[in-house]
Symmetry: C2
């Protein structure tokens, strides 16, 4: 018997689509009904085997589901939760895959009739590609999923959602929603914003050197690859996590300013000291990851 | 007959070592004498087949060479040029591989007896790894080499150095030294400095969230990989290109500030417009690269 018999899937993009592909393949999902705003998107999802049935009507989608997965852009989460509220039953588990948690979690808990059945989640498996075309089998294997239960969340619902993500190969950890947003602001949202700013800077430099785009080398491509992600998605993430992000931008700007000053003062010894210090942290991060991966693989 | 019979190689790290490996293999170099400051480094270079002979004495290394390759850290280029000046003959061609050109080119031209025989170069083939261990065959294939001749540089020397880099598979282009430094400040030096600042920012965030390093996700690793490069090398590059870099830091900071303001004003429409604009530039860069590569491959 599947972990969830009837699944209502809102959003069939990279994360929602890939989850359905894996969960169906592994027998975790029985019947999947998908809902989206555009009929073509739903046709593509049907063809790809992401959904067994599709509908443009949120209520029809959610009716009779034992699991509702909110995998739409984060700005649509609350409107969808409100729209489906009348169709949710006492036992329906609701989960989401949003990259920001604090604000969304509160809003969804307020929007639905049985907030204890809502288990907020964030499978950290983004790629540069997005949309239904980008959905693939095996996307989640070995990656991390953060669940951010609140004091309202019931244990049994939490266990079931954990089993789902573990079932598609993720390492699941739990964290307070605010802490999730603070940590992700530093380690994911800030780097993405910085990548956008770097591309913008080169765009501006082009005004004085029109051929500059002919010659983009080395480190630059790692950044432009990052800045290739979905603008809609990042707009939402930046706006919804703006206070933590703002704080991190200030920390980053002051770190950059300090490096700029050391370079400006032509103090080679101090500059090398700083670069080596930073490199050590970087090595620490790599070591830490390896230890964690080993630990997790040994469980 | 090899392109260069007797080669004096100063520096046997990633670039110098890989060049010797490829140039010997392809019959472009005859006999290679390597010079470095440390005997162990030279032993490693001998064992790896980078050099046929080694010496700690710059004069002994340069004597009788028809090509001198300066592949030491950029801060050592001028001292080496001064040290070998007495050994340079009328026909000895001198070239370098420094990632910064303006300052170095002037200094080397002043340091050597026949500045017309100096052909400044920058094979853009850096990786995160560095040192003699990192030297590999095939490092340069398909990548770009920028030569930055001055009005002093003689055409025949320029042709010979071009033939060398083309011989190891590089696409060679010529550029004014100042323009090289401005372009590289935007497309390589700024991204690397920003990567260092990002790691430093996470390091500072750790003071309020000690476990933050446990959870470094997504985009962050592309950056730490960049910040792993040699601190000595980047210290020199940042210092030697400080004026162009300074200008680019300001352009970048103002781009970041603007994004921060749009996010702070919660103007979703404006933010999305900006992110999409940036994404279009990014696509343009990718397309441009593909066109260039196709064009170059068709020659």
């Amino acid at each position: 018997m599947p972990l969830f018999e009837n699944v209502a899937l809102f959003g069939v993009g990279l994360i929602g689509g890939s989850l359905a592909l894996d969960a169906k393949r592994k027998g975790l999902f029985g019947h999947v009904t998908a809902c989206s705003r555009r009929a073509e998107t739903l046709d593509a999802a049907l063809q790809k085997g992401i959904a067994d049935k599709t509908t443009l009507d949120p209520i029809e989608c959610a009716k009779g589901a034992d699991l509702v997965v909110l995998a739409a852009p984060v700005s649509s989460m609350e409107p969808i939760a409100k729209a489906i509220a009348p169709a949710l039953e006492r036992n329906t588990i609701v989960t989401d895959v949003g990259s920001v948690k604090g604000q969304i979690v509160e809003k969804i808990e307020r929007a639905i009739p049985y907030p204890s059945r809502f288990v907020p989640g964030h499978p950290v498996a983004g790629r540069e590609r997005f949309g239904t075309e980008a959905a693939v089998e095996g996307l989640f294997a070995g990656k991390r999923c953060v669940l951010t239960p609140t004091k309202t969340t019931d244990k049994e619902a939490l266990r079931a959602v954990r089993a789902l993500w573990e079932g598609v190969g993720m390492k699941v950890l739990e964290m307070d929603p605010q802490r999730h947003d603070r940590v992700l602001a530093a380690t994911s949202h800030l780097p993405h914003l910085v990548a956008y700013a770097l591309v913008e800077a080169v765009m501006r430099a082009r005004e004085t050197d029109p051929d500059i785009l002919d010659f983009t080398a080395g480190g630059f491509h790692d950044f432009t690859r990052i800045a290739a992600s979905s603008p809609d998605m990042w707009r939402d993430i930046f706006l919804m996590n703006s206070s933590h992000l703002d704080e991190m931008i200030d920390v980053f700007s002051s770190a950059l300013d300090e490096l700029k000053k050391v370079i400006g003062s032509h103090d080679g010894i101090e500059l090398q000291k700083k670069l080596e210090e930073i490199r050590r942290v970087k090595d620490q991060i790599e070591n830490m990851r390896q230890v964690i991966v080993k630990f997790e693989n040994s469980r």
